[in-house]
């Protein structure tokens, strides 16, 4: 029997499975208070998914407010839409607006690697589409457990194939991302997906249902039984199956990229024809989310006839239809006069479109099923007025001990040449070609830079050459040692990577991956990281335009390394001025190291890979310096003074040299001063290696000196040598280095 509102009123004491759906006692009590009766099954399903951690941000909200508090009007000046919309939107000039966002799909990808990763890509792409933009490229920051662990061998190939399988078939170039290994991600891999899209500024669409009488049209794939409870169960709880507790059925959605490709083209044609008032994608929480968010953000109520929803399974209950997370669906609000035109476009693309509802007077979201009312709620209470928790925060007891355990006493090797090779072959520093080779980076013909460049770059305007660059970064070891500084370092690196392409950074997004919010130590890490990131953005003068929080990333009581992945977007007037990563493009290049090197090994790749050590303090982040460095790089690109640039990060100068030579396929002669171990392997922030044509050397170094950016000449490009020679140490033939750098991942996963 279908549980109607009438039935709920008649049976106030009927027991309901709210605990199994993830609601706490007081949350259930609040729902009853809002409705002044018990919720129906369908209402309970809606509230439980919408009030889940994943959808409601109930543990993070109080902290995320800090992003808004620290964003000045000046920082906001280029923002057309920000936190709270499907994705942030920034004005990049010439009438173009760019929207970008990164989201997590961690838990589904652990359960079902291929589909979890695939639908992660699909979901973020629909978020971008829902802003009215054409999705243009994707990036995937991924994190796995120990590379040789059985579970990593299970999840990694599937996740990579899923990212590729969906993105390739969708026709979006994959222009970058990360692949990082650390034991803490074992049993809880991180699959974050970023999408960037562009539109003319006047085409911005926001998710709201305004105008009484307007029609609500569901279009795209049919609704099935897949992904029910996905967000509330998978994304909001850890996987430990406590004995005696009824096990929830984890349920991963199944993606169909072909349907999504058609949905994209169909939606863009609908936008172009001007027949859409409001639009919302269906992702986590499915129709529950789409209807309540559209209604909540509009100025009226909404009536939905649930029995009209096209299904692909028989016997689905209203609650199941509302919480299904079937992929490739969108919900549009359309004026009655435009419904016919809307349907014509959908017919052209063979996309199923159904009028399922109407914007109404009043402020209730009413959902009927065969003429019986199964939902009657104030939509804001579902979508925007969920519970808010100020969870206990406690600096971990062992944080001091961790910071006191510095890497200073770790033995440093004598054979530095051998160490360069060892480090180049270490899983975190090794070439990710085995992964990125499975992603299409060429489709649509706008890709100017992609992996293994520091940042990905795409052309937005074919006439003017205006484009954007993007990078995502985070070093979880730094964040573990000092969450505040670590988050700043993640921001600094992404900012630097974007600058190294010649683009000017203008906006920030993030995906905050943490352990359980019920653990005060995790909440401390979270609070610190948010503060660090927000303060860093304020220092750099660029706003956070949106983001995503993923909690409960832990196995048993062990949380992952705190991993606030930071994405930075930059703009470049003309992509023809981009700075490539590899050296050797110009005859006679000088290698200059910009920035300063200190003895900083806390959380370094060397300490991790060689000594399995994590302790001390991370390198210092100096954002004023990063800003200056960025300005110098952009000026260098604009005036044609820089022929290649590559940032220094994990693995230090040694790794940067190896990569610049191998990517450029030419040798170099390098001369360093002081302690060579520190010079080669320290991970001090704020450094970039640039190649400048000899004819520009004076002009460029004069500029650095005048603006007080420390620089040092560290070598020359040597097209004849086919080796990386380091004075005082000897030389490493490039083919040997290539074998070390490129051999690791195939050996592990082929």
């Amino acid at each position: 029997m279908i549980d109607t509102v009438k039935n709920a009123e008649a049976t106030p004491d009927q027991e309901q499975p709210y605990k199994e759906l993830g609601l706490k006692d007081d949350e259930y009590a609040r729902i009853k208070e809002i409705l002044r009766r018990r919720p129906t099954d369908a209402e309970l399903a809606m509230y439980s998914v919408m009030w889940s951690e994943h959808c409601s941000y109930k543990s993070s909200k109080v902290h995320l407010k800090y992003f808004g508090d620290t964003t000045t009007d000046e920082m906001r000046s280029k923002m057309l839409a920000g936190i709270g919309e499907n994705a942030g939107v920034v004005d990049i000039g010439d009438g173009w607006a760019v929207t970008f966002k990164v989201e997590s799909h961690n838990h589904p990808s652990y359960v079902e690697p291929y589909q979890g990763a695939a639908t992660g890509v699909g979901g973020i792409v629909r978020d971008i589409l829902a802003m009215g933009a054409r999705p243009l490229a994707v990036m995937d920051p991924l994190r796995f457990g120990r590379p040789d662990a059985d579970d990593t061998k299970r999840v990694l190939p599937g996740i990579v194939a899923g990212v590729g399988g969906y993105g390739n078939c969708l026709g979006l170039p994959n222009i970058g991302g990360e692949v990082v290994f650390d034991e803490s991600y074992q049993g809880n891999p991180l699959v974050n997906a970023l999408c960037v899209g562009a539109m003319r500024t006047e085409d911005l669409h926001l998710a709201h249902a305004s105008g009484t009488g307007n029609k609500v049209i569901l279009y795209g794939a049919r609704t099935g039984l897949d992904g029910i409870g996905g967000v509330s169960v998978l994304a909001s709880e850890t996987f430990d199956d406590t004995a005696g507790k009824r096990k929830k059925l984890p349920s991963v959605q199944v993606g169909d990229p072909f349907t999504e490709k058609v949905l994209i083209e169909c939606s863009l044609e609908l936008f172009e024809k001007g027949v859409v008032v409001g639009i919302q994608d269906l992702g986590g929480a499915g129709l529950s989310c789409a209807t309540s968010e559209l209604a909540s953000a509009g100025d009226g109520g909404m009536h939905v006839w649930l029995d009209r929803v096209p299904l692909r399974a028989t016997g689905m209950t209203p609650a199941e239809i509302l919480s299904s997370e079937s992929q490739e669906r969108m919900c549009a609000v359309v004026e009655p006069a435009n419904v016919e035109a809307f349907m014509e476009v959908c017919a052209k693309w063979d996309v199923i479109a159904t009028e399922i509802g109407e914007v109404t007077e009043g402020d209730r979201l009413v959902i009927t099923y065969h003429d019986e009312v199964v939902v009657d709620v104030p939509p804001r209470t579902v979508a925007h007025e969920g519970p808010v928790y100020n969870r206990p925060i406690q600096r971990p007891a062992d944080q001091d001990e961790l910071q006191a355990n510095t890497p200073d006493s770790l033995p440093r090797p004598d054979d530095l040449l051998a160490l360069i090779k060892t480090m180049a072959a270490s899983p975190n520093l090794a070439s990710k070609k085995w992964v990125t080779q499975q992603y299409d980076r060429y489709v649509r013909g706008g890709t100017v830079l992609a992996q293994p460049s520091d940042g990905g770059m795409i052309r937005i305007d074919e006439e003017t050459g205006r484009g954007v660059a993007l990078s995502t970064d985070c070093n979880g070891r730094y964040t573990k040692l000092d969450p505040y500084e670590g988050a700043k370092l993640a921001l600094a690196e992404a900012y630097r990577n974007v600058s190294a392409t010649g683009a000017t950074p203008i906006a920030v997004t993030n995906c905050l991956n943490f352990g359980s919010p019920e653990d005060p130590a995790v909440m401390w890490q979270f609070e610190q990281a948010v503060k660090g990131l927000a303060d860093g953005c304020a220092e750099l003068g660029i706003p956070v335009t949106g983001g995503n929080v993923s909690f409960y990333n832990q196995t048993g009581s062990t949380a992952i390394l705190p991993t606030p992945v930071v994405g930075v977007l930059g703009v470049i007037d003309d992509v023809r001025r981009r700075i490539p990563t590899g050296i050797g493009a110009e005859a006679g290049e000088t290698l200059l190291l910009l920035g300063e090197t200190h003895d900083e090994f806390g959380g370094s790749e060397w300490a991790h890979h060689v000594h399995n050590h994590l302790g001390g303090r991370p390198p210092k982040a100096d954002l004023k310096r990063e800003k200056l460095l960025s300005e110098i790089l952009v000026a260098g690109s604009r005036d044609g003074m820089v022929s290649a640039a590559h940032d220094l990060s994990e693995g230090g100068l040694a790794q940067t040299l190896v990569e610049t030579c191998l990517i450029g396929e030419v040798g170099a002669r390098v001369f360093l001063e002081g302690d060579l171990f520190t010079a080669l392997f320290s991970e001090s922030a704020g450094r970039v290696l640039v190649a400048v044509p000899r004819t520009e050397e004076q002009r460029f170094t004069d500029m650095c000196t005048a603006r007080r950016l420390p620089w040092r000449k560290v070598g020359v490009v040597d097209p004849e040598s086919n080796a990386l020679e380091i004075q005082g140490l000897g030389e490493l033939p490039l083919d040997e280095l290539r074998e070390a750098w490129e051999g690791t991942l195939p050996a592990l996963f082929e």
Binding site: G171, P257, F258, V262, Q438, Y439, V443, G445
Partner: protein, 223 residues
């Protein structure tokens, strides 16, 4: 020069093929899968992607699309037709070209910059190249392994109908390292690599692919 570029639901590289035609000073004419005429074009490109989601088998559904009946008829009358990647698969399914494309031998999708050797410069699409020239263009496919029986392979080799061959390590298990072939008349060419992604060194590895579209310009002008 007016060149039709076919779009099926799931086609991805149509914008790239249109751009390549423009780079060769041609006019790109979009053709929809449901069209029943070719709008008076001089040549047709069947671009890459995943037509109809590649359900059943790559190209198996697309070959039955209304527009393909027109393409098949025109090709048989001598119109220059180029199939790239999924387009090659469709032309093979439509029997405009012999053989079939199968799953890459290592079972992964492969996207990489691939050296090719030009082995036939007499087709409608390859006159601008020097015989034996090596060109660098992107290859990006999961089912690019060229397969044919011994007799067909012998016929292709004897008649110099292998247009492009992979140089170096075989990327997908194609027999005889075959990357692209032509029909007996030389007007229909199919290849797995993507010349339309190599028309500008800014966005591709080289501009080596542009030669195919410029060759077409010569063919159309001289026809």
């Amino acid at each position: 020069m007016r060149v039709g570029v076919v779009t099926f639901p799931g086609t991805l590289d149509d914008v790239d093929a249109q751009r390549a035609v423009k780079y060769a000073d041609g006019e790109a004419v979009p053709l929809w899968h449901g069209d029943h005429d070719l709008k008076g074009v001089d040549a047709v490109i069947v671009p890459g992607g995943f037509s109809y989601g590649d359900y059943l088998r790559c190209g198996a559904i697309a070959r039955f699309a209304p527009v393909m009946q027109e393409v098949i008829e025109a090709a048989n009358k001598g119109m220059p037709v180029l199939g790239i990647c999924n387009g090659f698969q469709i032309l093979a399914e439509a029997h405009l070209l012999p053989g079939a494309l199968t799953r890459n031998h290592k079972l992964h999708f492969v996207c990489r910059d691939q050296w090719l050797k030009v082995e036939n410069t007499n087709t409608a699409w390859t006159t601008r190249y020097d015989l034996g020239a090596e060109i660098l263009v992107p290859l990006k496919s999961g089912e690019g392994g060229y397969q044919a029986d011994e007799d067909t392979l012998k016929e292709l080799e004897d008649e110099q109908r292998v247009v492009f061959r992979y140089v170096g390590e075989n990327p997908n298990g194609s027999r005889n390292n075959i990357a692209g072939i032509t029909n007996a008349r030389g007007n229909v060419v199919g290849l797995m690599p993507h010349p339309e992604h190599a028309i500008d060194a800014l966005t591709g590895p080289t501009d080596d692919g542009l030669g195919m579209f410029l060759s077409l310009l010569d063919t159309v002008v001289n026809a």
